[in-house]
Homo-oligomer: 339 residues x 2
């Protein structure tokens, strides 16, 4: 495989100095039209592409922001990255994307790789609880955590606890007592919050906790159908399910519809395409990647342009989409609206 032509090759062919080539390529003024044209022809003839590494090395700053998510195959993160890229492009920057696969070691490698590329800032959906290897690095490059909070860092999250408590409370109000929690993975702080809120709400309403209704569902296993179906092998199966995230929501919907259990109530944390077309349509807590991504990239751009800003935790309110599946009443007598 041949080497790429460099600025010197262009200069030689156009019979000018490399500085002149640099001027033409970067559109700086002060070049005679004739010279300029000669250089441009040489650039095309050789298929010259400026070496970005050299440029970055010389100038000391990169021209991209880094984005690190669990996996791009998840529609929530795909939308998030898409929004961020569009906005970054408008700010004249590219985006360097990487995924962790929910593996802390891989997260570390990817972050260091991005850091080495001199990114101007990083948006991270954190996996590891601890990022101390970033402590120093942060001093020179801003980082915004998304979806999961991390103490001492800037973050953009949603009101997990409130939304979950409200959803579970509503299920109880309409007569459910056996409410399952699908998608429980203690490794993820967001999920832990939601799980905690779920438990708390049950207890507040005097319902005994049954761990079998919140079976572990490691995030590495994309498909939550089996977990869901397992719930119906219990002596007292659930009459309602709370799905802890998008991935879980899709799996639960699939399992319920695939096994004809459409009488089971379902509320999903995260809306998914076609959720509104199922019968009954799936009720969701809307966890809009578009809005979250926009807030995160705006915050990051702000931090890039205004160094020294103190970390801030931005909590976005979610909205509940009541489409039907979450309003299916349970067997217990409906409770009066609590004060």
């Amino acid at each position: 495989m041949r080497r790429h032509p460099g600025i010197k090759d262009v200069a030689a062919l156009a019979q000018v100095s490399i500085k002149t080539v640099s001027r033409v390529v970067n559109g700086e003024g002060s070049v005679l039209p004739a010279t300029r044209e000669r250089v441009e022809r040489s650039v095309i003839e050789l298929g010259y592409v400026p070496n970005g590494s050299a440029r970055i090395l010389k100038s000391g700053v990169g021209d991209a922001v880094g984005v690190v998510v669990d996996t791009i195959a998840d529609p929530f993160f795909a939308s998030l990255v898409s929004v961020i890229e569009d906005r970054a492009l408008r700010a004249g920057m590219g985006v360097l994307f990487a995924s962790t696969g929910l593996d802390a070691a891989r997260e570390r490698d990817q972050l260091l790789r991005l850091a080495g590329q001199q990114v101007r800032g990083i948006i991270l959906v954190p996996v590891a609880e601890n990022h101390e290897y970033l402590e120093r690095y942060r001093a020179s490059t801003p980082i915004v955590m998304v979806d999961r909070h991390m103490e001492g860092y800037d973050s953009v999250v949603v009101d997990d606890v409130d939304a979950t408590k409200a959803a579970v409370a509503d299920l109880i109000r309409i007569g459910h007592r056996r409410i399952a929690f699908v998608g429980y993975d203690a490794a993820l702080s967001t999920i832990r919050s939601r799980h905690g809120a779920y438990q708390e709400t049950l207890v507040e309403h005097g319902i005994a906790l049954d761990p079998r209704l919140a079976p572990p569902s490691p995030a590495e296993i994309f498909d939550t159908r089996l977990t869901t179906l397992g719930l119906f092998d219990l002596q007292e199966p659930p009459t309602a399910i709370f799905a802890a995230n998008l991935r879980a929501g899709i799996g639960v919907a699939d399992a319920l519809h695939g096994s004809g259990r459409t009488h089971v109530a379902l509320i999903s944390f995260g809306d998914f395409s076609l959720a509104h077309l199922l019968t009954p349509a799936v009720s969701c807590i809307d966890h809009d990647a578009y809005r979250i991504g926009n807030v995160a990239i705006e915050r990051l751009l702000h931090l890039i342009n205004t160094p020294g800003t103190l970390p801030q935790r931005i909590v976005l309110a979610t909205e509940r989409l009541e489409r039907g599946s979450g309003e299916i009443p349970g067997p217990a007598p409906a409770m009066a609206e609590s004060a």
Copy 2:
């Protein structure tokens, strides 16, 4: 915002030469344990991250492959990128991703940006018909086109024409005469192929073409619901719809189910999540991003390791998933199986 510490800072703090730091960081042998430890402490203390640009500049080759798609928000492309990243990581490379937004100028910018980053190879879902600015560059960096073919380049595509002809022929066989084509965008070669195959099949069966049944549906407009609903304002509305791609399939399903027109037959080019849960379940031509991505990255890795390989067009066979919506009979008398 402070500057990043460099190898010199580490060397100074550890009281060694920069070469020794380099040795430790890159895990090369021949460093006294005591020295090594001193260096490692300094690295941590300063939060030193090697400058990838300098490394790439010096060595002349990058450590990543580039991937350019229409938009990462499309689940098909998201899966494609995900598969490619996983495989690249296992090959010790990162992935530099960029999206074109279906804009030829943006495609060009993104490609040149990736090229400037010294990527080892590029996987591209092409938008523009012409990439002559890449002609020279190809000599030094392999490129694999995906999903849409381009003469003279390596490509990985599916059997668009055959799959479309078979699907449309089947719709005719079960009694449909008014068959619509949703998602027509003449700017995309893949869609043109599918549209051509659709027209040809109708003509072969003696059915007159009606352009109103294949309304233009520019790819920039993500939502195809309005286009779909418009078809039912025709005096003679369609009894069957062929959706030209994933995006169109989702929109059509949404429109049909949302307006209660579930008696209209539908075959979608591309499977989507939950398609099998609708009533009737949506019949698809399966256009598996996982398989396509795998073949593409394997091909690229091969080209990287074996320069000078001749371009090859790899055509993957698709599979038809008959779930119900594509098997709804039409009003015309069913035709006998053709010889």
